[in-house]
């Protein structure tokens, strides 16, 4: 469990095309669209922080924008 807490959801905002699939499937309501645009003109998705790290957002992302990162978070 300790390890899991170290994981975090990393979103490459530049890859995101704002389909919203990840927001739809997230059981913890942990994702939302940002207000700002990325360089392609989409409102990319942002991880709000707290979640159970289920990885569904990674599973459904068509744009290789979501990663579950093993690196420790601050």
């Amino acid at each position: 469990m300790n390890q899991q807490r170290k994981k975090h959801v990393k979103i490459t905002a530049e890859y995101c095309k704002a389909c919203g699939y990840c927001i739809k499937v997230c059981p913890d309501n942990a994702l939302e669209f940002e207000r700002k645009f990325n360089s392609s003109g989409y409102h990319p998705v942002k991880w709000k922080g707290k979640c159970r790290m289920c990885g569904l957002c990674y599973t459904v992302c068509p744009d290789f924008a979501v990663e579950i990162d093993d690196q420790e978070t601050s």
Partner: protein, 233 residues
């Protein structure tokens, strides 16, 4: 995968590409796979795939793949085709590769329309579906949606045929399992395998991504039920 791809918002190709690459890595076949890209949106698949790939003429990947496999039987040969490529212009090549039982794997992405050319009717366009060439909805005059899995399962030459979708996390995981099984079928030398994946084309369907997930679930699955159609593994 660290790359920004060219597919539209909500397009299923990205998910399927990722699944394929994961499976290929897990099976450790990256260095022996030869993939054939179709004509269609996935023609540029090789921008994102780090293995040997060739483009084939529209519809002909199964013939190209059959030849490669016969010459290099210890390599893994895969075609990645859309509904126009596989089920319309390449119907004959698909049928005969399957019927010969060529030991290849076909990944068939069915999004019920021609994405690359702007959303015209595909052979898999469902009844009443509006496309740019069926402005009043597909009706009998346009012909019926072709059911590739149902068709191929009847052929002696096919070994593993499954239809999955990528409209939900559960189905995505099933798709990955199916792809793995199909490639394993080839690795074990069993024969022809095909995985049909129902995929979203929000732009072609004139829907938003959320609605397109819904549409796969409600409309496409009715016409194209999911499941394993043949498993002689």
């Amino acid at each position: 995968m660290k790359i920004r791809h060219h597919y539209c918002t909500g397009c299923g190709h990205g998910i399927i590409h990722r699944l394929l690459c994961e499976v290929i890595d897990e099976l450790e076949i990256r260095e022996k796979i030869i993939a054939i890209a179709p004509v269609g949106c996935a023609v540029f698949g090789y921008f994102y795939w780090n293995f040997d790939t060739a483009e084939a003429a529209h519809g002909r990947p199964p013939a190209v793949a059959a030849a490669i496999k016969r010459i290099l039987p210890d390599r893994i040969v895969m075609t990645y085709q859309g509904d126009g490529d596989l089920a319309a212009i390449g119907g004959n090549e698909m049928l005969h590769a399957a019927n010969r039982g060529d030991n290849i794997t076909v990944v068939f992405v069915n999004n019920a329309c021609y994405g690359m050319t702007g959303g015209q009717m595909a052979p898999t366009t469902v009844m009443n579906q509006i496309t740019t060439t069926t402005p009043y909805g597909r009706n009998i005059e346009d012909g019926y949606p072709i059911k590739v899995c149902e068709l191929l399962k009847e052929l002696e030459g096919t070994v593993y045929i499954e239809r999955t979708s990528v409209d939900s996390p559960a189905n995505i995981i099933k798709s990955k399992k199916a792809l793995k099984k199909a490639l394993n079928c080839q690795i074990e030398g069993k024969g022809f395998s095909l995985v049909e994946i129902l995929s979203m084309c929000p732009v072609g369907w004139r829907l938003n991504p959320q609605q397109s997930l819904e549409w796969v679930n409600k409309s496409m699955k009715k016409q194209f039920p999911l499941g394993v159609f043949k498993d002689r593994l």
